[in-house]
């Protein structure tokens, strides 16, 4: 069973007060956490890679908890989320897909109202590559005010035999949200969509 080896982590929290419009008393808070881990399958084709999913679960859970703590939020205050992975040049895109279950279900375990699927992006990239990680409402994917994305990257990662695994969360809608569509106040919260 491959071991999860973490080289470094970064946590970033962004408070947005305005974007040219009215200044909000309560800033829109967006957080991202990324771990740079060794890719146990780098450098060759390995057919059976699913055991690593199980190995990644404790890391996913810890990252979800650490991110909420860094955002100074309660699990009930998280309204949006997303996930992503950047695979170093010695790996293949499919290695990034190993993050779907440990990344997604760890957040859904921790975030209180989280019926919605966790949106994601992934790619193979060089050191310093940046990934736009999509954000959607955690309880209803159709809520338009919460569609967003957070750019995440680390200047010295991922190296060829590494992967960057990422979780992002937000505490509300875009700061000047006014493009119509379904509102968070209209959520039924049954099917994860509406």
């Amino acid at each position: 069973m491959p071991e999860v080896i973490v080289r470094k982590t970064i946590v970033s929290v962004e408070d947005i007060f305005h974007e040219g419009g009215p200044v909000s008393q309560k800033p829109h808070r967006r957080g991202a956490i990324a771990a740079v881990i060794h890719n146990p399958y780098a450098g060759r084709y390995v057919e059976e890679i699913t055991p690593f999913i199980e190995d990644l679960k404790p890391l996913g859970l810890k990252m979800a908890q650490d991110l909420i703590a860094a955002m100074g939020a309660k699990p009930s205050q998280i309204e949006g989320y997303g996930k992503g992975a950047i695979v170093g040049s010695g790996g293949e895109l499919e290695h990034g897909a190993l993050w779907h279950a440990p990344g997604g279900y760890s957040m859904r375990e921790v975030v209180e109202n989280s019926k919605a699927i966790v949106a994601s992006t992934k790619k193979v990239g060089a050191v310093g590559s940046r990934l736009d990680v999509p954000v959607t409402h955690a309880n209803a994917s159709y809520v338009r005010s919460h569609f967003d994305s957070i750019e995440v990257g680390i200047n010295d990662a991922p190296r060829a035999d590494e992967m960057l695994v990422i979780l992002v969360m937000t505490t509300g809608s875009r700061i000047h949200s006014r493009s119509g569509g379904m509102l968070a106040s209209e959520i039924k919260g049954e099917d994860g969509l509406k």
């Binding site: 080289r7 470094k8 970033s12 962004e14 408070d15 947005i16 007060f17 800033p27 860094a70």
Partner: protein
Amino acid sequence: MITAKIRKISTVVEEIHQEIGKEISPTTRRAAAIAVIENPFAGKYNEDLEGLMVIGEELGKLLGERAVAALGIEPSQAEGYGKGAIVGENGELEHAAAILHPRLGGPLRVAVEKGAALVPSSKKMGGLGSPLDVPLGHKDAAYVRSHFDAMEVRINDAPRANEILVAIVVTDSGRPLPRVGGLEAKDAKGEDGLR
């Protein structure tokens, strides 16, 4: 009361667990606190930059405290620091100087307790997503070689033309595997800011 018109604040904490395969324990950590503010002097030449000096003083306190809080340490546990600014295209380089140099250091030194050493700095003009390498040094003795470093900071949507990005970095450690000699932190007197 803050006079700076802040659009956003971002904090980043980086924690190094391994470097070239060697375990780093305890982890080395550095935190950047970054504010994106409106440049009150964008678009025209202003002889008097007092307004930006006041903003520098405010941000020294705000960002210094945020960086220390992000590391979750006592002020006395801070070991290194640095500062920097990126001025959007409608400003001038001197605007960064007015924020960084006259008054930002005082409140920053309160936030990290002491701080006898000069705060190393970098500045430039830039656009959205420009990266800035913020130089780092030991807060009490500039010659401590293990703490010479830099942290890259970057915000994808800043600075806009009429904005300035201001960054303060605080560390609780030096580089992960220092071994190039020079003055060591344990031998620093920390009186003159140099040794």
